[in-house]
């Protein structure tokens, strides 16, 4: 349904993406992970053309988004995006954050947009916070509004750019729960995340991106049981230290001490 073919992108001398290709099918959830600076966020921004590719193509339902004559604004309305730092519109209440796209892009009348926005807030369990401003909400609540905002446009696919990495550990759960619900309801998603539990639960395929290329791809099972490349093994070990049982960390500190 969405397909990126040989995507290249550079910022000045820095080559960020070096020929990335993959395809996401209907109702599929792809998880992209990899070290920071590997080009994950750039890849997402290239898919919805906030930052157009230097070379390569992006297809949505077999339509080339980069072809001349295609209105990128119209296309972006069909690709939702959830940001690492939420990027909620600070001057608008939660409900208006969700309805602004319906009002200004889909040109729905005020009341209808409001009703739909309220329904979306309900889906992310934020209906009772509808009249709060972003600064009055916790990070987890803000991100759930951010998800509702993306959902409101009924996009073909939603891109998640590290949606939980700016959150306090306590707040990650509520956001992941909402993302899980959405994934299970059959939404096509491309998720950049290091939440391996989430990946395990819903990802149909995981892509490991390093240095602008897809180093390895496979099911969550494949990555957790038998990753092939050393780079991936090392990275997963680091993640394990971060999120795992700390066995690795203890082992290391014991080794240091015994020296």
């Amino acid at each position: 349904m969405i397909r990126i073919v040989d995507g290249w992108k550079s910022y000045g001398d820095l080559q960020v993406l070096k020929g990335v290709s993959f395809e996401v099918g209907e109702q599929e959830v792809k998880v992209i992970f990899g070290p920071s600076g590997s080009g994950k966020s750039t890849l997402l921004r290239c898919i919805n053309m906030l930052d157009p590719l230097d070379k390569g193509e992006v297809y949505l339902h077999e339509q080339n988004l980069i072809a001349p004559g295609v209105n990128p604004n119209m296309m972006r309305a069909r690709i939702g995006m959830v940001f690492q730092h939420f990027n909620l519109f600070a001057h608008l209440k939660a409900i208006d954050n969700v309805s602004i796209g319906l009002r200004r892009v889909k040109k729905l009348p005020k009341e209808e947009a409001r009703a739909k926005a309220l329904e979306m807030l309900g889906r992310v369990k934020m209906a009772k916070w509808a009249d709060h401003y972003p600064a009055q909400l916790s990070g987890g609540q803000q991100q759930r509004v951010g998800i509702a905002r993306a959902l409101s446009m009924k996009p073909d696919v939603i891109l998640f750019d590290e949606p939980t990495s700016a959150l306090d550990p306590e707040l990650i759960g509520e956001v992941l729960q909402v993302m899980l619900d959405i994934a299970k309801s059959g939404t096509t998603m491309i998720v950049v995340t290091h939440e391996m539990g989430f990946a395990k639960a819903v990802a149909s395929e995981m892509l490991f991106l390093d240095n602008g290329i897809i180093v390895e791809r496979g099911t969550p099972q494949h990555f957790f049981v038998s990753p092939k490349s050393e780079r991936v093994k090392h990275f997963l070990k680091q993640l394990d230290i971060l999120y795992g049982s700390h066995k690795e960390l203890l082992k290391r500190s014991n080794e240091e001490e015994s020296k």
């Binding site: 906030l50 995006m81 940001f83 519109f89 001057h91 200004r104 892009v105 401003y133 009055q136 446009m153």
Partner: protein, 258 residues
């Protein structure tokens, strides 16, 4: 022996006899101030947007304008605009074309209060030059205040709006500007407080504003100190009211929780 004692009450009453002049001058000053502030705001907003989002060429033009205005004396700008049509006329005449009818624009009105008739010049070529100069000048300063506020909103807001399918223009209008204009108020109040005092330069091209009337009163009464202190107090009162009003607006429009 012939010591002149200060007589403050008498001095003030003597100056206040010219209340009709003070009122006319105040109206002129307010007209220049209000007109220049509004003109400067809209032009400044445009300049700020061009400088921030205008692409290479337009942003350079906006930057150049801002730097030229901020880098040259206001008085020089005033004289430039004042004398420009005259020198253009001499060129036009040399080519046999009809000159710009500079002195012909003149709208006056008589305001009758109590026993006084105040002949108030609403508009003439001097007022026009004053308004234009102050407006064009203020625009450059206001543009920088507004641009600072736009920058402080951050690109994340713009990206988020665009990710919903809004065009860049719609995103700027519905997302960036509502926040930037709220944020600009404290800094912008600087310009609102500076401008009334800058309006006095129009004295040099013969607009009789509050300051011009002060000279007139001094010439008639010789109460120098009293007159100028009185005029200064009018400015002080005006600017205090404006700045309190802006504080109030800033509080009323502030975003809850921020």
């Amino acid at each position: 022996m012939f010591q002149v004692l200060p007589q403050p009450i008498e001095d003030i009453l003597r100056v206040l006899e010219y209340w009709d002049h003070i009122l006319a001058g105040f109206l002129t000053t307010m007209e220049l101030y209000g007109g220049a502030l509004v003109m400067g705001f809209f032009l400044g907003l445009l300049l700020a947007l061009l400088r921030q989002y205008g692409g290479i060429i337009l942003s350079r033009i906006a930057t150049g304008y801002i730097e030229i205005i901020r880098g040259t004396p206001l008085l020089a700008q005033l004289f430039f605009i004042y004398f420009l049509p005259y020198s253009m006329n001499s060129i036009l005449e040399a080519q046999g074309l009809s000159p710009i009818p500079i002195g012909k624009w003149n709208i006056q009105t008589d305001i009758i209060i109590l026993d006084r008739i105040i002949t108030y010049t609403i508009f003439d070529h001097r007022m026009l030059v004053g308004l234009l100069t102050l407006g064009l000048n203020s625009a450059a300063y206001q543009a920088e205040y507004i641009r600072g506020a736009i920058k402080s909103v951050g690109t994340g807001q713009l990206l988020a709006a665009q990710s919903l399918g809004m065009s860049r223009l719609a995103a700027i209008r519905h997302v960036v500007l509502p926040q930037a204009l709220r944020r600009v108020i404290p800094a912008w109040s600087n310009e609102a407080a500076y401008l009334p005092k800058y309006t006095v330069v129009v004295f040099f091209i013969g607009v009789v504003d509050l300051f011009g009337e002060a000279h007139f009163i001094v010439a008639n009464t010789f109460r120098t100190l009293t007159t100028y202190v009185f005029i200064a107090l009018i400015f002080l009162a005006l600017i205090t009211i404006v700045s309190k009003a802006l504080d109030f607006i800033h509080k009323r429009t502030s975003i809850p929780g921020v």
